[in-house]
């Protein structure tokens, strides 16, 4: 029987703890507004996580640069020949179509990021289907991930997100350089990852767009930009809403108040 509930009442970290301690195997289906996520566990450890349907297919391995299109086609042929019980992951490892360390490292990073993003959901329906396993052709992780680590890192990120969101409330904000950087900006040294973000700041792109262009997660991009903000290098602003246009006219200007009206109010307040 499926376990169902809402992470508002029973938090994600509580649920992961339950899966871990109960050595549970199954699929956890989550939904929050228009978003969804699907996580698979094997004996309490995470083997797959996706937040988009297309990431449940093996083409993800090509997008992550783990195998080429040709290697994936070869793996699929072998999988079909092997029959029941085999998975595309096993085939790729067995036939050495990818180095196991690289396969594990890249897919694990991707999978962990999918899960960390879920810790920010304030609520969401969940359904845990016991003994449900990923499709054999889905990109599962060669060595399943311990849930303990996910909980600790996920919770740490929530705390950090809270601090970051005080200054960067949303990822649709635009980053721009300050014309006169503050004193603190002098002598700032940037790490390679920070340079990648720094180089993408153009006063037009949003944080989400920068994250996409640098292949960094939203969290990492915001964390780096938060550092720039603190150093007085940049500021962030909401992306201006496009101004509605009247037919045959320029941009609509906000209504202006008459000075005579303001003067009347000033005189009245003075006389109170």
């Amino acid at each position: 029987m499926a376990l169902v509930g809402n992470i508002r009442d029973f938090g994600l970290s509580d649920f992961l703890y339950l899966v871990d301690r109960g050595y549970k195997t199954g699929g956890l289906h989550l939904s929050h507004e228009a978003e969804m996520a699907l996580l698979f566990f094997e004996k309490g450890k995470l083997v797959m996580a996706s937040r988009r349907p297309e990431d449940q297919h093996a083409e993800l391995l090509v997008r992550l640069g783990i195998v080429s299109d040709t290697q994936l086609a070869q793996a699929r042929q072998s999988l079909a020949a092997r029959g029941n019980g085999a998975t595309i992951t096993q085939v790729i490892i067995d036939e050495r179509l990818a180095k196991q360390e690289q396969f594990q490292g890249q897919l694990q990073s991707f999978t962990e990021e999918q899960v960390y993003g879920l810790f920010g959901w304030p609520e969401g329906e969940f359904r845990f289907e016991q003994n449900q396993r990923p499709d054999p052709g889905s990109p599962s992780i060669p060595t399943p991930i311990s849930v303990d680590h996910l909980i600790m890192e996920g919770v740490r990120r929530i705390d950090e997100w809270g601090r970051i969101k005080d200054r960067i409330p949303a990822t649709d904000m635009v980053v721009r350089f300050l014309e006169q950087p503050g004193e603190k900006a002098k002598g700032v040294k940037l790490a390679a990852e920070e340079w990648r973000v720094f180089a993408r700041i153009n006063g037009r792109d949003t944080l989400a767009e920068i994250a996409q262009k640098t292949n960094l997660s939203d969290f990492d991009t915001c964390r780096i930009v938060y550092g720039f903000l603190t150093a007085g290098l940049v500021d962030v602003q909401k992306k201006p809403k496009p101004m509605p246009l009247r037919p045959g006219a320029g941009a609509v200007e906000p209504p202006r108040v008459k000075r005579s009206l303001v003067n009347r109010i000033i005189n009245r307040i003075k006389s109170m």
């Binding site: 005080d166 409330p169 602003q237 909401k238 809403k241 906000p254 202006r256 108040v257 008459k258 000075r259 009206l261 303001v262 003067n263 009347r264 109010i265 000033i266 009245r268 307040i269 003075k270 109170m272």
Partner: protein, 176 residues
């Protein structure tokens, strides 16, 4: 009869209700309820809807003062209240630096999408541990042209000065 609107906003317990009460000509319409969330740690009664005050300017002109709800869960009200407002007073409790971030969030909300005339009123300047307006300007990262004014929201003269300063800002931007 023409009505114009000014909005008074700020974090929980910044002094919005008191500010409007000090200047309104009518009994302030204030929907105060016993606080049921973490605000009860700050005060027993807090504004969960909004305050409404009124000043008659002339027979044909009335100024309405709206105090916004302080709690985040009433954010949706801010959008409604800000439509067509003449100007905005942002009240800050100068004795509680833990509310400065929330104040910044409120300023950002009202100012980002529209060219709002506003001043910041550094309330509770009569308290010994109050941050000065200059310190508040730095803490709130406000540019030099934004007025950060000393204020005691329970004092009518002090409230008058804040409103007049806001009106001078509006006056500069007004058309003939």
């Amino acid at each position: 009869m023409q009505t114009v609107k000014m909005v008074v906003s700020g974090a929980v317990n910044a002094g919005k209700t008191e500010f409007i009460k000090a200047i309104s000509e009518i009994e302030v319409v204030s929907t105060e309820r016993r606080a049921t969330d973490d605000t009860k740690m700050i005060k027993k009664e807090t504004t969960v809807a909004m305050d409404f005050g009124r000043i008659a300017i002339a027979d044909d002109l009335v100024l309405h003062l709206f105090g916004t709800p302080g709690q985040k869960r009433f954010d949706f009200m801010w959008e409604i209240l800000s439509e067509g407002m003449l100007g905005l007073v942002i009240l800050v409790d100068s004795t509680r630096p833990e509310t400065f971030r929330e104040t910044n969030r409120i300023i950002d909300f009202f100012v980002s999408y529209r060219d709002t005339a506003y001043v910041i009123a550094a309330n509770k300047q009569d308290r010994p541990n109050a941050w000065s307006p200059d310190e508040l300007r730095l803490a709130l990262r406000q540019p030099p042209h934004i007025k950060v004014l000393p204020c005691v929201a329970s004092d009518r003269e002090s409230v008058k000065h804040v409103l007049l300063d806001l009106l001078y800002v509006i006056q500069e931007r007004a058309e003939d």
